[in-house]
Subunit: 155 residues, 2 copies
DNA sequence: CCTTGACCTTCCCACCGTGGGAAACTTCAC
DNA sequence: GTGAAGTTTCCCACGGTGGGAAGGTCAAGG
């Protein structure tokens, strides 16, 4: 089975299959004499495993752990559960941040007339000119912001 | 005002202030003779505007648009609202994906005993060995996946 | 046999937003 | 004048994904 077929069968692009091999998420694939990667049904099952884990939002590092637990017949399910629970908390955090953004923006959009006039509560709030107390003027509230902000971006 | 003070006053790191200038989100700052960037109260207001927009999850590109609408006294609030509405939809999409992940994972975690035994519905589901019909075996369902997947990752 | 087209290989580059750090310089207070 | 804290630019990293170039391979059809 060439990489393209494995890609179709697993739902992971050829690009990503090679990438996963590169970051050691997968062991180096077998090669034909000419250098083509060869995959077995078993390899495809690993790929599917990875895809499903990605679909649940697990990071590469977490998937590495999941895979090794999967391979280990003597794993205690406790470990799997713990790993999943940690990820669940992460998801929850993101969800909450996102939900907060949504509510705030929803409120603003709702308040904006959306006509030909220039007055706009959305801009006013962003500018800090709004009468909205929830401004959180940074000077006072230097919150952590140490990590990743939510990926709310678009375009 | 040096960049550090502007950073403190706006809640944006010096790194990011320079970056925003680099990607033309901000006009090039004034400089002292020795090359230090100088900021006015007005500049700080722009920075705060940006920070608040980022806090609502707007992308750099969207903020560029928001800034120019803000500067334009004759903007129709319709335009601002439209921009915000588009972003709102994006947020909503992400929220839904995230929510779906969370529910699915929550279910699995709930089902897993989390003891010393190796049986684990989480792994079984990822492996596709689970009796869970919601498997979505890629071979049949080559969905778009053309863009960014949700940033559910951790670690 | 040779061409053509579909596949494969590696390698580098892009996105988004953010931070880290090096090497050099400036400013200020002591 | 010396040292500390600020600033400058530049390059590199992360996560995960895709794009594309330049080249090799394979099978089918003329």
């Amino acid at each position: 089975m060439n990489i393209g077929d494995a890609a179709k069968a697993s739902g992971i692009s050829t690009k990503m299959i090679r990438h996963y091999e590169g970051v050691q998420l997968l062991p180096p694939a077998q090669r034909t004499e000419s250098g083509y990667r060869q995959y077995t049904e078993n390899d495809v099952r690993s790929l599917q495993f990875i895809r499903r884990a990605r679909d649940l939002g697990f990071s590469i590092d977490e998937i590495r752990d999941l895979l090794s637990l999967w391979q280990d017949r003597n794993r205690p399910s406790r470990q799997v559960k713990a790993l999943a629970a940690v990820h669940l908390e992460t998801l929850d955090k993101r969800l909450q941040e996102l939900q907060a953004m949504k509510s705030a923006l929803e409120h603003l959009v709702h308040c904006c007339q959306g006509n030909d006039r220039p007055d706009c509560p959305i801009l006013e709030t962003l500018a800090g000119t709004g009468n909205d107390a929830s401004d959180a003027d940074a000077s006072s509230a230097q919150r952590h912001r140490h990590g990743h902000r939510i990926t709310g971006g678009a375009a």
